[in-house]
Amino acid sequence: MGESRLRRVGALLRLSGALLSQRLRYTATRRTLLAVLGIALAVGLFITVSGVSVALATQGSVVSSDVDYWITPESASSSTLPVSVDGAQFGAVHNVSERLTERDDIAYASPVAANVLKVTHANASEYVVLIGVIAHPDLRVAGVSATNLTPGDPYYAAGSYRGPWTGEIVLSTGASRLLNANVSDRLRPNTPQAASQNRSFTVTSISNGGESGVGSVPIGIVHLGELQSLTDATESDTADQILVATNDMAVRGDLEQTYPNSNVVARSDSGLSTLTESKLALALAAGGFLVSLVIGVLFVATTLGLEIQTDRRLWATLTAIGFATSSRALIILFQTLLLGVAGGIAGLLLGRGGVWAANQALQSIVAETTVAVYPPQFTVYGFLVAISIALLTTPYLVWLTARGETLTVLRS
């Protein structure tokens, strides 16, 4: 009995394939391709939106759990707290940090600038969040330790940017895995400045960290001056925030005076803030997922619904010769799943294109930076969206086939 049922399912699968192939080749090429396109657009949209949201979250995850306070520009709301690619930045950050570090009640202060850059190792290029800091043995950013960087920021050299180029980089395990890079390996950032100055980084250590609410984030910690020189941020000596390590609660008031229009957030707020960050990213991703799903389902339901109407004689014939509703449902399910897989593959390509286009568009307008990323998990998520669209559309299509009056159709 079980074997016969399996055989039936297998045969129905082959029948679905034959019917779909016929439709694709002869009877409804355009409509079938439109259905695939609908799924592809939905998946592509999902990946692009999620790519941007993950990039935001990635930048948002650049928080330090070992720093008591951080100062952020006021325009960066608490929900986009640490870094915003195109948001407001602080200027003259080295001087300010130096001034703060000189205080007795402050252990150290470091500006933080984050840029998502393409980094090449061997022949592989991947996007990595490069975080520039004034190194300190106790400093950890996004869980990644800066211990193995030469303390301070030698290349900055009192604002001349002519100090020794250390080329040191500490990679998070995620970045190390992504780039397949180990200690002592040489990495080349893909920016025009790096190319013209022939700059590269050497991995000094691999550190745990970079884990965020959306998975492992590839992070590389470098000296701020070196990052600034690669991203044209030397002129105003800019960074996204300033981390301040202190045990004295009283410094908060002074910190608030450091920059006009700035916020000072205490570590005690950071749990909430990180949570908010991670939730924001998740909310964006979930929003993208839902919107894509709705668009995809509507698109596929419309195009395949029309197809069912056109093929109503086929469904009426199958009913008349004894095909149960479950068998017709399986045929439709297999067909929508096949279209879902095809749409998923096309959607992944579209999504990659969308992420690339978003970055290209921004890079041509603003600077050498990245607003969208494509982590490997997106391939799985994209397929999940495509399959969900197929699964959600199937009941409606099955209902359409059952709705057609067998007799009326066969007489016509």
């Binding site: 055989r7 019917l19 016929q22 009426a316 008349a320 004894g322 066969l410």
Partner: protein, 245 residues
């Protein structure tokens, strides 16, 4: 009840009446707005008694609108009677769910349509084997059985031809082979020669005779007296009533 030749009863109608409600949608809106008029009904079949024996070829004759197709659809379990009982393979169709009637069709009834209704994507052999897919029969068995039947209807050399590559007569032969592939007790054919020329129509009619000779009952509705000439007996309908006595 009718006189029967030999063999067991395959299908029967006892006092079968089938009525249809006209303009159901209008009646729905009227009822929604408070009108409780009884919607007008049309009686397609009225108090029909009929018994079909194994191996019998029963012709159904009558002008358009006489109820031929309705009777065939009742015998195929595609519809249920408004009153009376239709029994197929020992089961009363009005007590069966839609799904059970679908299964009954698969197991016991073969249907031949006027317009063939083959699956254009599939070659003849696969078209014939389609009902066996639903039965969960092994692929090799499906292919063998379909091939045997296609050879029987004279299309042994057309196994890989899709419907588009076959003539009307050949398509109808494929449809007949498909109707026979599950070894049904009853084959129902609605105007099977309606789309064919006279000579091809005669060949198809002869096929039905052969089918009956093997013990399968055939109910064949047609306008064409030549097609019906092979019937063991003819049931004549007019305005939903039997007039053949």
């Amino acid at each position: 009840m009718n006189e029967s030749p030999d063999g067991s009863i395959v299908a029967s109608c006892d006092g079968v009446t089938r009525t249809y409600t006209r303009s159901q949608s209008r009646s729905y809106w009227r009822s929604l707005f408070g009108s409780h008029e009884t919607p007008p009904t049309v009686t397609a079949l009225n108090e029909i008694d009929l018994t079909i024996q194994a191996g019998e070829l029963v012709g159904i004759k009558g002008p358009s609108g006489s109820g031929k197709s309705t009777l065939l659809h009742l015998l195929a379990g595609l519809e249920t009677p408004s009153s009376g009982t239709v029994t197929i393979a020992g089961r009363s169709t009005d007590t069966l769910s839609r799904g059970e009637r679908t299964r009954l069709r698969l197991d016991s009834i073969g249907i031949v349509f006027q317009r063939f209704h083959l699956l254009s994507a599939l070659p003849a052999q696969s078209n014939v084997a389609v009902p066996l897919v639903e039965e969960g029969v092994k692929k090799s068995t499906r292919r063998k059985r379909a091939q045997r039947l296609l050879e029987r209807v004279g299309l042994g050399d057309r196994l890989d031809h899709t419907p588009g590559m076959l003539s009307g007569g050949e398509q109808q032969r494929v449809a007949i082979a498909r109707a026979l592939v599950t070894d049904p007790d009853l084959v129902i054919a609605d105007e099977p020669t309606g789309e064919l020329d006279t000579e091809t129509g005669q060949q198809i009619t002869a096929l039905f005779e052969e089918i009956c000779a093997d013990g399968t009952a055939v109910v064949l509705a047609s306008h064409d007296t030549a097609t019906l000439s092979v019937a063991d007996r003819i049931v004549e309908l007019r305005d939903g009533v039997r007039i053949d006595g």
